[in-house]
């Protein structure tokens, strides 16, 4: 194996300087002098002996472990994030507290607004709606979706800002991802979103789909907390979201 003729063997800080010098030198040499041959040594592709080891993500659930040698406990490849088993995700309850640390008065504000809202009648109606839905839900889905159409459009308009869909894949039309989302009353994500089985099975075999699922999941998280009418929490405490990139300009 031959190493490359570069400045990198010098002290690293010098390396940057040397690299700049080399570039400038090359440029100058190229422009100024052709009588002198600039004969950098012929380069060969260096073969890098690399031992690749998959590191356990065990530290994920053992935050206090110090200097744990990750190599020594190398379990089989860790589960993909697209289909997270609920146990490890739920394991660090410590993290559940994290969103609360962030001052989040938003959920309260709507309540205040409610009080001062001129359209008292509308609010009253809105308040009554969940009750109606609750009773009707036994009877059929149709009526229920009609009642939640406004919520769907609110969520849509929130989520699409957060969704950076995968681009440039060979088959964007296949990358529809379906998640079930679980929210707390304050609009924060209550538990990890659940990838629908059909999306999960596609993601397990297609890396593009896995990436699409990852992008959808990030969208769900980064959009939290959702600003939704608290009085209708029963309607939006969990919902299905379809991320559909077909209409996007690729």
């Amino acid at each position: 194996m031959r190493n490359r003729p570069t400045a990198e063997r010098a002290a690293p800080r010098l390396g940057v300087v040397a690299s700049v010098a080399l570039h400038v030198g090359l440029a100058v040499a190229l422009f100024v002098s052709f009588s002198k041959k600039i004969d950098l040594p012929v380069d060969s592709t260096p073969i890098v002996p690399v031992d690749l080891v998959s590191i356990s993500d065990k530290t994920n659930i053992a935050p206090q472990a110090i200097e744990q040698k990750p190599v020594e406990n190398t379990p089989p490849p860790t589960p993909r994030d697209v289909a997270p088993p609920p146990t490890p995700e739920a394991a660090p309850p410590k993290f559940e507290l994290a969103p609360d640390v962030k001052p989040q008065p938003k959920p309260e504000k709507p309540k205040e607004a409610e009080k001062f809202d001129i359209n008292d009648i509308q609010k009253l109606l809105a308040k009554k709606t969940p009750a109606k839905t609750a009773t009707r839900s036994v009877q059929g889905v149709g009526a229920q979706t009609a009642m939640t159409a406004d919520l769907a459009s609110i969520l849509m308009s929130e989520i699409y800002h957060c969704w950076s869909p995968p681009t440039g894949s060979p088959h964007p039309e296949r990358l529809i991802v379906k998640y079930e989302v679980f929210l707390n009353r304050d609009g924060t994500v209550a538990q990890p979103p659940q990838l629908a089985p059909e999306s999960a099975s596609a993601a397990s075999s297609d890396p593009y789909m896995a990436a699409a699922a990852g992008a959808a999941r990030r969208a769900i998280y980064t959009c939290s907390p959702y600003r939704l009418p608290p009085d209708r929490y029963a309607q939006w405490r969990n919902f299905i979201v379809n991320f559909d990139p077909r209409q996007l300009e690729q």
Binding site: A27, P84, S137, W163, P192, G214
Partner: protein, 434 residues
């Protein structure tokens, strides 16, 4: 039968995925395409002597990911948290505050045997989970390649496609005044590091890598009689390919590396030939009095796309690798040349000349779905990243003011100049280094 099964699965899936409690359905069919905000702190070095290596690796990873246009590495100055131990879960909240969605933590440590050990973890900041954790051992001088491998691994985990950072570019380094241009074969890393010349001052053009990135085929005027020449990066030796009485040019390797498709000119007429490198026997594939040139294999090696002006203007044609079934695929505006089949197989990139401009465009191998990715005075000669996601090409500035290498994402986004030592043209992207 298969259909029936999939219907069943779909039905079962629907039943499972829509519990009665989740009546609310949200369809998101618009998005906000943004590079992924990612934090990449300097890699931790338990020994002070390794600190510089940790900084350098993180710097290269940040630059790699930024260059791709798909990531936005956040300014380290904005970090409010410090990573001191990569085996402890980070405080995700402190990374969410600075809007990071991804976090890379890494560590470098010199081993007693003199090798450098590099560990890194990629974290999902919002999901609060590890997405990837890998460890490398290498000679310390190879730190830069390790950095590229780390970038490739992160890129693949996030985008679903293999990365392309641990690759090299062979190109033509240009210098001198417009009428006395000196062109030399040169090579550099994908990020512009480690440039070096491979030839001296005689005219060379259109270099192409073989699939192992050990061999380069190019057109050389060294004898005054231009011929396709092979350059062996291992030995540094070059060798004329074949013994043709007339000019050969426009070479390109087959995906298995055993064949070189090229153009042979006889009495002024250019046709496409294929030479088997094992037997050195060549086969003629086209028999048209028009110009047939610029062949490029499909990734399965079964087809060749090339350009021909047999229909009156320069257009793209596809044929089987044995020369049969030659058919035109480009019917759009203008002239179309220098086609290159994507390593992914889904697209053919080419040079489009229309409306007084030269641009880089792509279309499907059946000629459908043409999209223009770049437009310039003279953009030409595309080359694909090994993942079929990014292209480089030559951009020549109007008025003889030199040539540059540019890159663009296959979506047409992220058009940017590639760093080269001086003027440069005719880039060819290597496969991932083995």
């Amino acid at each position: 039968m298969r259909k029936f099964a999939s219907v069943l699965i779909a039905l079962a899936a629907m039943a499972l995925s829509q519990p009665a409690s989740a009546a609310l359905q949200v369809d998101v069919n618009q998005g906000n395409i943004q590079p992924l905000p990612i934090a990449i702190p300097d890699f931790v070095a338990p020994a002070a002597a390794d600190a510089a290596a940790g900084q350098n690796i993180a710097k290269v990873v940040r630059a790699d990911l930024e260059r791709s246009g798909l990531f936005k590495p956040l300014d380290p100055k904005s970090y409010i948290d410090q990573i001191s131990n990569i085996n402890v879960a980070p405080n995700f909240q402190n990374w969410r505050v600075i809007t990071a969605q991804g976090l890379v933590t890494g560590q470098v440590a010199m081993q007693p045997d003199g090798r450098l050990r590099v560990d890194f973890r990629l974290w999902d900041v919002y999901g609060e989970s590890q997405m990837l954790g890998l460890q490398y051992f290498t000679q310390p001088t190879n730190w830069r390649r390790i950095a590229h491998m780390v970038s490739d691994a992160i890129y693949q985990r996030i985008t679903g496609e293999k990365g392309y950072f641990d690759t090299r570019i062979v190109f033509i380094a240009e210098a001198g005044p417009p009428l006395k241009r000196v062109k030399r074969l040169a090579i550099m890393d994908e990020d512009g590091a480690n440039p070096s010349f491979l030839t001296n001052s005689y005219l060379v053009l259109t270099p192409r890598f073989n699939p192992t990135a050990q061999m380069i085929a190019y057109m050389s005027y060294i004898t005054g009689k231009p011929r396709v020449t092979l350059f062996d990066l291992e030995t540094g030796r070059s060798e004329k390919l074949g013994d043709f009485p007339t000019m050969t040019f426009s070479p390109r390797f087959s995906p298995d590396g055993n064949l070189v498709a090229m153009t042979l000119e006889t009495a002024g007429n250019s046709d496409v030939y294929v030479m088997d490198l094992r037997t050195r026997k060549s086969t003629r594939l086209t028999y048209d009095p028009a110009i047939d040139t610029a062949p490029s294999f499909s990734p399965d090696g079964k087809q060749i796309v090339f350009e021909s002006d047999r229909g009156g203007s320069q257009q793209l044609y596809v044929m089987n690798a044995d020369g049969s079934n030659q058919h035109r695929i480009s019917f759009g505006e203008g002239k179309n040349g220098t086609p290159v089949w994507s390593p992914r197989g889904d697209l053919i990139a080419f040079t489009k000349q229309a409306g007084g401009q030269f641009g880089i465009a792509v279309m499907h191998p059946d000629g459908s779905g043409e999209r223009i990715l770049s437009n310039g005075w003279e953009d030409e000669g595309p080359t694909w990243a090994p993942n079929g996601r990014v292209l480089m090409f030559t951009r020549t500035i109007r008025g003889g003011r030199g040539s540059q290498i540019w890159s663009v994402d296959v979506t047409g986004r992220n058009l940017r100049r590639v760093a080269t030592p001086g003027d440069a043209s005719d880039p060819a992207w290597s496969p991932l280094i083995q």
